[in-house]
Amino acid sequence: MQNSILLSSLVFSPLLAILVLAFIPGQKGGAIKRVGVLGTLLPLVLALVLFGSFDYTTPNPQFVERHNWISIPLGEGQSGEAVSFEINYELGVDGISMPLIVLTALIGTMAAIASWQVKKRLKEFFILFHVLLIGMLGVFASDNLFLFFIFFEMTLVPTYFLIGIWGYGEREHAANKFLLYNGIGSGIMLIAFILLFLVTQTMNMQELSNNLSSIAENVKPEIRFGLFLALFIAFAIKLPVFPFHTWMLKVHVQAPPSIVMIHSGILLKMGAYGLLRMGIGFFPEEAYRFATWLAVLGIINILYGAVLAFVQKDLKMVLAYSSISHMGIVLLGFAAMNTIGFQGAMFQAVSHGFISALLFFIVGVIWDRTNSSMLGDLGGLAKSMPFVSGIFLAGGMASLGLPGMSGFISEFLAFLGLFGNMPVLAAVGALGIVLTAVYLLRAILRITFGPTPERLSHLADAQPMEVIPMVVLLGFIILIGVYPAILGNALQQTLKSIVPIVTGIGG
């Protein structure tokens, strides 16, 4: 298994499309679009191949690759021996990252199809899009903090351009806000990573986690808690957790639809992944003590998001606040500190990835025809666009947790996990589910039903290129809903390996 090149080829497979795109003249829009979409199929196929041969029975990273990369000679240590820091190029996927890689590749393809409606500077758009894809795949495939950080930052710059050039009216403002908030998050993360490196002398995630528990007494408790808190804040900005969320609203409103799909579907999940993998994975004891706060923050996210979603006039804002609300459920799942809760959180991450990608895709479709996403401007679309409206309703149902769809199973698991430990908080949180139904149905009904205004009565229904993402995304939502084991099996072992440590120490 050592040094298969499978993961590297997966992560860097979008390079192929970038190279081809670089040689196509800029005015050949059709060819660029075709290459842009076909290029995303390669990572998708590779991701599915990996998923197919993934071994469910072990919690350890698989398809591991390791090469020496950077060596920093430190001179002589205290006892006179030569010391050097080694930073390796290490890739590997475990049960948590595997589903997220499939999610990334899949939403990547769907977002590429959604990019069909991009009108200007196509070549640059698709090149940046594929760079972003490399970054996202790399984040989930890294088994090394340094590499993780580099890929994490690699998502930052292309996203900045994609928002700033192809977004709507206030695109530059949104891009700046995105850059600064995420820059702060990355900065905090970098401090935490370097301190972890200095403490444990390694950047490999597995070794680091082991070293950290074996030298626990060498590290002062306040430093440990500080590190946990730094990691928490770094990823809380990405997720986003309540007071750090304002940048994300701007991005969701101003970015082009395909980038919002990526952003809401994948980039936010990097926050959830980092929280679980690093925040909780490295500092189970601290996380356990912090669990109540996690739950409280989760509930604030759920209720705050839901209440504000209810009063928004713009469909994009409704969905943006809905994302905040749904990410609260991820926090609740983490707060449970048991396998079921963690499963719920990861299910929610994956499921919300599909659902929000679907809903934002539909927003893009509607915008394409009406140039508006204001609830007040729209209405009665079910008559003119029956197919789109139907899928929209189905997506909404999945989002509010209708049984048989992925949203239900994830919310169910998260709350199930939490009720065991914190019944009161779980009960308050469950209130958010009711609110979800209220604001989503309000928005969807307002748009699809009611009288159709004259100017909206001749809109074209979905084109074939638009049908594909809708059907595929909805298909996965239902697949996870009726056959959750497809996701659960992969998660099971790895989550188990994180959880017992928690309860073993804390309980």
Binding site: Q78, I150, E153, V157, I165, G187, I191
Partner: protein, 508 residues
């Protein structure tokens, strides 16, 4: 110590300095006697040749000498510390001359011959600053560099800005020199010697005999005076005006070579002379001295990065950014670890690549658009896509975003600071770096997101284009494989014998 006969030294090791001196002298004579028919381009090419030759002999010295070679009680010493800095100076000067070859075509500078050989004398001053351990020689080197650069800044004689900036530079430079000299006089007064290795022990005695506050005052005067050359707070305010007025290649020379020379001098002097001085509790250098340098670093980072936000002139912005980078470069000394030397050299190397890249692109744009304002960059991507991409690489490197040499440099400095549990300075460094994103991306915004005045392809001189692309490629390459550079520094340029082992005991 035995005083040797002046002829008993092996003067061959000083060839790099002699070559620069010789070329400067010969070129000035050539300029004087050659008459109008000789293209001054030739002088530029010859001075480039001199710089390259000197570089070759620095490498020869590195491979021949495995311990410091000392002339006349360390008045001049050839050691790894000096060699590493000399390579940076030579590379920086070579780049500046390359830019000048194209810049002087514009005809703003009438005295082209002087331009080149003054750059060589400035370089010679910088080299002396890096390879001496004697206060007098160090000061002579400092003055040689300063005087050369005062003239260089004012060489655009018809430009009001250039005249103003030269005047400001001379006046504020003289004040800073006076402060430095005052600090040196305290050092001499306390120790009775100008050799900084001997000073080290005597300051220790002086400190223990109750003169420690004079020791502190000497340190403070030296630190503040030398802050001028590295353009760090509190002696930073000259930088924006001078950069704006100076010819572009000279501004780049000041931003890189002059700044690096300031670091070479300041660190050797402060670190060796004050290393053993006793503080109120424990070592002065690791406590009070480090605190002063830390405050200067923090103020430089904060003031440099926030003031840069408000600039619309790219040269002024780069000047404030240079102040911030001086702040980052002070961090490894607060207090130093064994890694500090390779941290500083690597960071300066990355900074050299990116800064010359930015100034080269700026020069092309300023010539075409007749403005050095931010809006000159508008729509650059459509007019010269490769130039815009290279510029993006340089800006990302300066901002410290991977994959770039600048990122690893910052990462490296961070590592040292956190290893010293220097949390407050690390936090300031991170926070101000994020602030710096805003103005670096301000240029990127102009290049990609704003329409330019015209869409016509920009005419880029071939030589400059190749130069910029090579710098960008190197920036990315050393971002991907920084280990190549750090291992080289550790293997060939490790001045461990200068400062001893300073790896602190680690506990977290």
């Amino acid at each position: 110590m035995e005083v040797k006969d002046i002829f008993s030294y092996d003067w061959g090791y000083l060839l790099p300095e002699f070559i620069i001196l010789g070329f400067a002298t010969l070129l000035s004579l050539l300029d004087l006697f050659a008459g109008k028919r000789l293209g001054r381009q030739v002088i530029g090419l010859l001075s480039l040749l001199g710089v390259v030759l000197a570089g070759v002999f620095v490498f020869v010295n590195m491979s021949v000498l495995d311990e410091p070679y000392r002339y006349m009680l360390d008045t001049i010493r050839i050691d790894d510390y000096g060699n590493a800095f000399k390579l940076l100076f030579l590379a920086g000067t070579a780049f500046a001359i390359l830019l000048s070859l194209s810049y002087l075509e514009q005809g703003e500078v009438a005295h082209r011959g002087e331009y080149y050989y003054l750059m060589l004398t400035g370089l010679l001053g910088a080299m002396v600053m890096a390879s001496s351990a004697d206060l007098i020689t160090l000061f002579v080197g400092l003055e040689l560099l300063s005087l050369s650069s005062y003239v260089l800044v004012g060489l655009r004689k018809k430009s009001r800005l250039s005249n103003e900036s030269a005047m400001k530079y001379v006046i504020s430079g003289s004040i800073a020199t006076a402060v430095t000299l005052f600090g040196m006089s305290y050092v001499y007064g306390l120790s009775g010697t100008t050799n900084i290795y001997e000073v080290s022990g005597r300051l220790q005695e002086a400190g223990m005999m109750g003169y420690q506050f004079i020791v502190y005052a000497a340190f403070a005067f030296l630190a503040v005076g030398l802050a001028f050359k590295i353009s760090a707070v509190p002696n930073h305010m000259w930088a924006p005006d001078v950069y704006q007025g100076a010819p572009t290649p000279v501004a780049a020379f000041l931003a890189v070579v002059s700044k690096a020379a300031g670091f070479a001098l300041a660190f050797r002097l402060l670190l060796i002379a004050f290393f053993q001085a006793p503080g109120l509790t424990g070592s002065f250098f690791f406590a009070e001295g480090a605190l002063l340098l830390g405050l200067m670093a923090a103020a430089s980072m904060i003031i440099g990065n926030t003031m840069a936000l408000r600039q619309t002139n790219v040269k002024r912005m780069m000047a404030y950014s240079g102040i911030a980078h001086a702040g980052y470069l002070l961090v490894p000394f607060v207090p130093p670890t064994t890694l500090f030397f390779s941290e500083v050299i690597f960071y300066l190397f990355g900074y050299l690549l990116a800064t010359f890249g930015v100034f080269a692109v700026l020069m092309v744009i300023a010539r075409e658009m007749k403005t050095e304002e931010l809006k000159g960059f508008a729509g650059l991507y459509h007019r010269a896509p490769w130039l815009a991409i290279a510029m993006t690489v340089f800006l990302l490197s300066l901002a410290g975003i991977p994959v770039s040499a600048g990122f690893f440099g910052k990462f490296y400095i961070f590592m040292g600071a956190l290893a010293q549990a220097n949390y407050w300075l690390s936090a300031i460094m991170i926070a101000t770096s994020v602030v710096s994103y805003y103005y670096y991306f301000g240029i990127i915004r102009q290049m990609y997101m704003r329409p330019g005045q015209s869409e016509a392809p920009l005419e880029v001189p071939k030589g400059i284009w190749v130069f910029v692309m090579l710098l960008a490629a190197a920036t990315v390459f050393f971002g991907l494989f920084p280990g190549l550079a750090t291992e080289y520094i550790q293997a060939h340029l490790n001045p461990a014998f200068d400062f001893g082992n300073m790896l602190p005991g680690r506990s977290f």
